[in-house]
Amino acid sequence: MKVVDVVCPFCGCLCDDLVVEVCDEKVVKVENGCTLASEKFLGDHRLQSPILREGFGWREIGYEEAISVAADILLAADLPLLYGWSGTHGEAQSVGVHLAEVLGGVIDNTSTVCHGPSILAIQEVGHPGCTLGQVKNRADVVVYWGANAIEAHPRHMSRYTTFTQGFFVKDAHLARTVIVVDTRRTETAEIADEFVQVEAGYDYEILSALRAIVRGREDVISGAVGGVAKTQLIRVAEICKRAKFGAIFFGLGLTMSAGKHKNIRNAIELVEELNRHTKWTISPMRGHWNVYGSNEVFTWISGYPFAVDFSRGIAFYNPGETTSVDILRRGECDACLVVGSDPGAHLPRACAAHLAKIPTIQLDPHVNATTHLATLQIPVAVSGIDAEGTAYRMDGVPIRVQKLVETKFPDDTEVLSAIYRRVREVKGQ
């Protein structure tokens, strides 16, 4: 059976035009998706039942036992950390926040190691953004800054920007000027009309220089800034000012390099400056398919997009203190629940080491790096393949991911709800 208009639950592009062939409750073919999508749909090797660590080995257990073990671990903890969330649907994230609330724990998502600094910058100066279709239909200048779209978001350019035709941009290829700013000549840089190669660590200075030029103060700039010739900076600023509609997309190259949230703040302020001349928007290239959803869900329930600490009863937010990297590094949490993420693979070594020391529960369909640190793993259905729910695209557009095949696995929402119920029962609530 062929299913059309399938949503890809892999990256923040959340492409919704895949054609998936399902045979005997298995995905056998994927069309329209990029290689990352095919890998996600086809390379799907599941852990078959919950496993509990015993001595040096694992024991297979049933779901009921797994849920009660998980609840007991969380209840026994003084400060449980509920981490991950970018790889699951919104309904599960919502139960997660309420679970953290009842437990008096900390809930944090993977923004802590990706666009956390972007959020901090937005909290300082705001965010002039738009939905991706606005760029597709109008943009004549597109900037990728510290973002290698071709590798990390393979269809971003063909669906939303450079290569796709839009209502006011009929001949996309000719009509759009692409500017790439990066420290190295990436694949994306290869197709740029203008490649600005920045010396590592100098993004902030380049942004300041561009702001000065846009303000008409090129006189304050020396012959070169951060390895970029002044002549090129002036040329780029001119392209930006002459644009009818410009869009900057930035990635971890800007967010995680020296300066961090100050870089993003500077980029946003450049966009603000440009809006005095013409129309510009700026958007983070969010990585995981539903990391933005975790920010949204956390926010409407707790008021904050990540790093929420409920240990004082109220929702308390102080990135740098309540962010999971910091909590783990200080060895503060004494149990961890991981959902929709693989911190064993992407958190700093010291953090992973602490996860190995404390009881760590993982809800994940697959054996991964975190499995090796975990005490208990509960396999769940995969959102977008055998589970359904809400996801938020990198630009905030909410899309429902579908359930394509029947499954014996419960989904994250079901498992988390069962844990939540049990915790409330024990706490008499």
Binding site: Q123, T131, N137, R138
Partner: protein, 565 residues
């Protein structure tokens, strides 16, 4: 579920023409009934003003831009925090509270129904998700059509039936309640960093004017027989001299519906400015009220109250202009083929003459409109002020003395720029009841669902306030009025006591009310080549993935009509 008998209540129910009768109200299975059945729970309401549940017909509480207001404002989140307590979840936020924060605080004030003022169709799913997390009020969503490409093209082609068909398809796809136009044409122009400056300006590239969009939508709305009228946020919001735009807009409105207004003008305060700059701004509330009196128009105040708040609207270009004045922080979010939005935090100061004039205009509008059914109480929450300020607004409307007291704290020039201190009128309990529930129910067209009144067959949504109208003089006892309207003794929602003395005591289960107008098959836009092409060519979401699935409306209530097509 056993019945409830509310005894000796001091009831004001303007729709049923009950004005201050001491009576019992019987409730069973969520409805007001003749007889509560055996062994009802008895609630003693003696000496308590008892009204139908409050209805807010224009507030921003759920959806993309509201949540972004939270997201970008940890300082606002810190300003209103409560811990988990009983069945109540943690809440954060003062001007943009979390969903549970909104729900609990509205419930404490006796509100049981809220209309979200602006939902972008493309992002409707988000609004509905937050509706589910606002459990103590029934929710409705105004659906934005101000920059809708398909609508503008049909208006340009003078094809009203097609306009109606597009609205019908969209409302039913996104489970929206009513047509909202926010700065019609202006949000599309903002896609190029521009705006429209009057109702007869051309929208770039689309060959239509705001006036044409407004007139066509008013007509289409009646073709579809929608419960509510077109809900309009006029062009030129917040611009000195904009009262002319507003008057010209009022002139466009025909009288098309015997049951209700043909146009709802929201947050009128922001649209009633004279002068030509911020230096010579003055009030034109009187001109607006004169134009509205006797016309098929209902407006809401959009009252400004002093203090900190967050402004948020689909009117992207307006927020940019406001940002250029305040230079605090600015967010913008354009929505492809449909609309825009912007957010900035503001502080309304008694030391700012402009802010004092705004404060006065809102009150003048309410006091100079002859018929309270035509001017409803609102702050365009949170744009003019957070909704928790409603009790203070009520007190200002009921007491000339309180207005004068406030006046002594304001910029003295306020009395030259506005007429507020020369108005003697003090609104009655009954007028307040009209302006906070009955008027809303009628204007929204939901009295048929049992909203806004307490007759037998009504939805059992009640607000029982610790206020004894026989014992209090609202012209004098201002603090009692404020305290009384801030916290009900009991809030009853669909036959259950949900809040007592300001504490929410049960978990909620609200309903979402939406409209669906059935059109003949030749008007089904789902099959229309030009319309579906919008999705395959220009939207970034496929048509199949666009409609909001039933899963997002666990308790949907559909108002179904037959389109006159």
């Amino acid at each position: 579920m056993s019945g409830i008998l509310v005894r000796n209540a001091f009831v004001i129910d303007p729709i049923k023409r009950i004005s201050g009768e001491v009576m019992d109200i019987a409730i069973r299975d969520g409805w007001v009934v003749e007889d509560a059945g055996p062994d009802p729970v008895v609630i003693d309401a003696s000496g308590c003003l008892t009204l139908p549940g409050g209805i807010d017909s224009h507030t921003h509480v759920c959806g993309t831009k509201v949540n972004f207001g939270r997201y970008m404002s940890p300082e606002d989140m810190r300003a209103g925090r409560t811990a988990r307590r009983g069945v109540m979840h943690v809440t954060s936020g003062y001007s943009v509270p979390t969903t549970f924060g909104n729900s609990y605080r509205y419930s404490a004030m006796g509100y049981t129904t809220l209309l979200e003022g602006a939902m972008a169709p493309l992002e409707a799913r988000h609004t509905h998700e937050e509706f589910t997390a606002t459990p103590h009020q029934d929710m409705l969503a105004n659906t934005l059509f101000d920059g809708n490409w398909s609508v503008m093209e049909a208006v340009r082609d003078r094809d009203i039936k097609r306009v109606a068909a597009i609205v019908a398809w969209t409302l039913s796809a996104v489970k929206g309640f009513a047509i909202k136009l926010t700065n019609p044409g202006g949000t599309e122009a903002w896609g190029w960093g521009q705006d429209v400056r009057g109702i007869h300006d051309q929208v770039p590239h689309f060959g239509v004017t705001p006036a044409e969009i407004i007139s066509a939508m008013i007509e289409a709305n009646e073709i579809l027989r929608l419960p509510h009228s077109v809900h309009l946020h006029c062009n030129n919001l917040g611009v000195p001299g904009n009262y002319r735009t507003t008057l010209a807009t009022i002139d466009l409105v025909p009288d098309l519906n015997p049951l209700r207004q043909s146009l709802y003008l929201t947050h009128a305060q922001f649209h009633a400015y004279g002068g030509s700059t911020w230096r010579d701004i003055d009030s034109r509330a009187e001109a607006i009220c004169q134009a509205v009196n006797g016309k098929p128009i209902v407006m809401d105040m959009g009252q400004v109250m002093f203090g900190r708040t967050t402004t948020m609207t689909a009117d992207g270009p307006m927020e940019w202009k406001l940002y250029m004045l305040h230079h605090n922080k600015w967010s913008n979010h354009d929505v492809e083929l449909e609309t825009g939005s912007g957010i900035i935090p503001v502080y309304y100061s008694r030391k700012s003459l402009v802010n004092c004039v705004m404060w006065a205009i809102g009150l003048e509008l309410a006091l100079l409109t002859n018929d309270p059914w035509q001017c409803l109480l609102s702050t365009d929450n949170p744009n003019g002020a957070p909704f928790v300020k409603y009790p203070e607004i009520i007190a200002l409307l009921m007491s000339r003395r309180y207005r004068e007291q406030e006046g002594t704290l304001l910029d003295p020039r306020t009395s030259h720029r506005t007429a507020i201190f020369s108005i003697d009128r003090e609104l009655s309990w009954e007028e307040i009841a009209v302006m906070t529930r009955a008027g809303q129910a009628k204007a929204l067209g939901i009295t048929g669902l049992g909203k806004g009144h307490l007759g037998v067959g009504a939805a059992a949504d009640l607000a029982i306030y610790p206020l004894d109208p026989d014992g209090i003089d609202p012209a004098v006892q201002v603090q009692e009025v404020i305290a009384g309207f801030s916290r009900t003794k009991y809030t009853i929602k669909r036959g259950r006591v949900v809040a007592r003395d300001g504490e929410v005591i049960v978990e909620g289960a609200n309903a979402t009310i939406w409209s669906r107008s059935d059109v003949p098959s030749q008007y089904d836009m789902g099959q229309d080549p030009a319309f579906t092409e919008k999705f395959s060519q220009y939207y970034t979401v496929r048509m199949k993935n666009y409609p909001v699935q039933e899963a997002y409306l666990p308790r949907g209530v559909c108002i179904r009509t037959e389109a006159a097509l």
